[in-house]
Symmetry: C2
Subunit: 315 residues, 2 copies
């Protein structure tokens, strides 16, 4: 069985390597590419049997209703919040995402960015490049034996916790649901408000939902321990940015994040004024390994659906 | 019991914090400070009963013979190669070093510097600072499932191995002596010449001895796998620098080191021409935690000697 027409919304031809497009060609009679805000979408939907959307592309109830022959929705992302998956379910249409393709990439980045900050590596490299071999003034500290808090113990939070355990940190977490197997491995559950003030390191790993938006509010930001390093590889919607800026001005915390492309440019400009706020482009998820898994999973989700055994169904 | 005179060679007053000097004041009647090449040394030695030397300061057979009342030699370093410890032993004088004070610091730095290199963090930070939120062109890869080789499984090598295990790397080692307990933990022993070409990451953790000098020779450097990241937190005497430069010119390996202060300035200048050679000031051992342990151990070695139970005796 093949699709009659796969409609790719916001997914350009460079999103996948040739070999993956070749595989997709064997799964559909026709491929159509449209921009995410294109008027073409409405025209293309009625006779489309498969829709593929990129990260952040909305696919609404109306879109689903317009797509009279739709059988499959695939996302080229882990997040699928902009797709009306519940409504699709009511219509019997599976939504399949890319679960966990970047878990290792994001978790290793988390440790990388923390270590970079606490070892003065940028200063060190710059000195070394200029043949300045003086280490004086470079402050450094260790992860071992420190309190390392994870907020949100999904797959990425769990992997960050494992890496921190490898460093023999005192790893604790708060998550909506307590996970017994984590406790068994020495990843200790603790109420968020009592945990946050104790932490030397905090990794924010919530998915963005209505419950988690603004989670790191003014009260929690004010309760942060002096010299804490906080890293957020999740959207900045989880953080009260005004309160964060006030705390950064005290120069007694380090805050690292990488969802800078989705952060309000005015906020971003404000944040960039503080040397203790380390801003990365969205690069936590970009390892070569993650890129391979992402493409493989995207194609295999389509294949599995055609075989009648959908994979990574989220609805 | 107290010392009559402690002679500090190459150890300035800023080497320790006040609280540690206060402790030392309770252990000796007098403190004398001299530079390492000072002519004063000969004058001071005959009536000195304790000598303390900084890292790299020579203390020879002749010096020991001149110090007619010498009872104790302490080093403000882990390495003690420039002290004639064997001769001191013959004369019944213990040499006490600072064993392992920087193990965690150096091991965490090793992972930090590797992750910095494989995640493009310097480029990322620079872009973020300029509000450039484009991640394109930043290459990144992961440690998980890669072959991570440790050359020299002493205390630092062992700790690097443990951290790499936390990342679920395939951790292997070569060391002069096979360590059964390492094998049990999944740190696999392998002959150096068969191991080196397999590695995606290599950490060099030998102490510098006549046997290890030049260990990473031209043949071994040529056998390195493409895209390997090699980090040497030990002296560069372990590496054939001419052969390294030839290989760096091929742009297919990354080499990181931090003993730049002891590297021949001509070699250093040559090495600095290659962007794939990352040169740090000597900063692997500098964490605040290591500095505290270092000072505590230095003072407690003196205390233990006076109590008749010398600690960290190396001879």
């Amino acid at each position: 069985m093949k699709f009659k027409k796969l409609l790719f919304i916001g997914i350009g031809k460079f999103a996948l390597e040739d070999s993956y497009w070749e595989k997709i060609d064997r799964l559909t009679k026709k491929k159509v590419f449209v921009d995410k805000d294109s008027a073409e979408i409405t025209k293309e939907l009625p006779n489309t049997d498969g829709v593929l959307v990129n990260f952040g592309v909305p696919f609404t109830k109306d879109d689903i209703d317009s797509a009279l022959n739709l059988k499959y929705i695939g996302t080229l992302s882990t997040a699928f919040g902009k797709v009306d998956a519940n409504y699709a379910r009511q219509k019997g249409i599976p939504v399949c995402n890319l679960a966990g393709y970047s878990t290792e990439s994001v978790a290793e980045f988390t440790l990388a960015a923390i270590l970079e900050a606490i070892r003065g590596l940028e200063t060190g490299k710059q000195r070394g490049r200029k043949l300045n071999v003086d280490e004086s003034g470079i402050k450094a500290w260790e992860i071992k034996d420190k309190v390392f808090g994870i907020l949100g113990l999904g797959s990425i939070g769990r992997r960050v916790a494992e890496l921190a355990l490898g460093f023999e940190a005192d790893v604790r977490y708060w998550s909506k649901h307590r996970k017994k197997d984590a406790d068994k491995r020495g990843i200790k559950y603790q109420n968020a408000d009592s945990l946050i003030p104790l932490c030397d390191f905090i990794s924010i790993n919530f998915a963005q939902t209505k419950e988690t938006e603004g989670f790191l509010n003014a009260k929690r930001i004010n309760s942060l321990k002096k010299n804490v390093v906080v890293i957020n590889t999740a959207p900045m919607e989880l953080v009260d940015i005004d309160a964060l800026i006030k705390r950064l001005a005290k120069k007694d915390i380090t805050f690292i994040f990488d969802h800078s492309d989705e952060t309000d440019p005015k906020d971003l400009k404000q944040l960039s004024k503080y040397p203790n706020c380390i801003i990365y482009p969205p690069m936590a998820y970009i390892t070569g390994e993650a890129r391979v898994i992402k493409q493989e999973m995207f194609v295999s989700n389509i294949e599995h659906f055609l075989k009648g055994t959908p994979s990574n169904e989220v609805n």
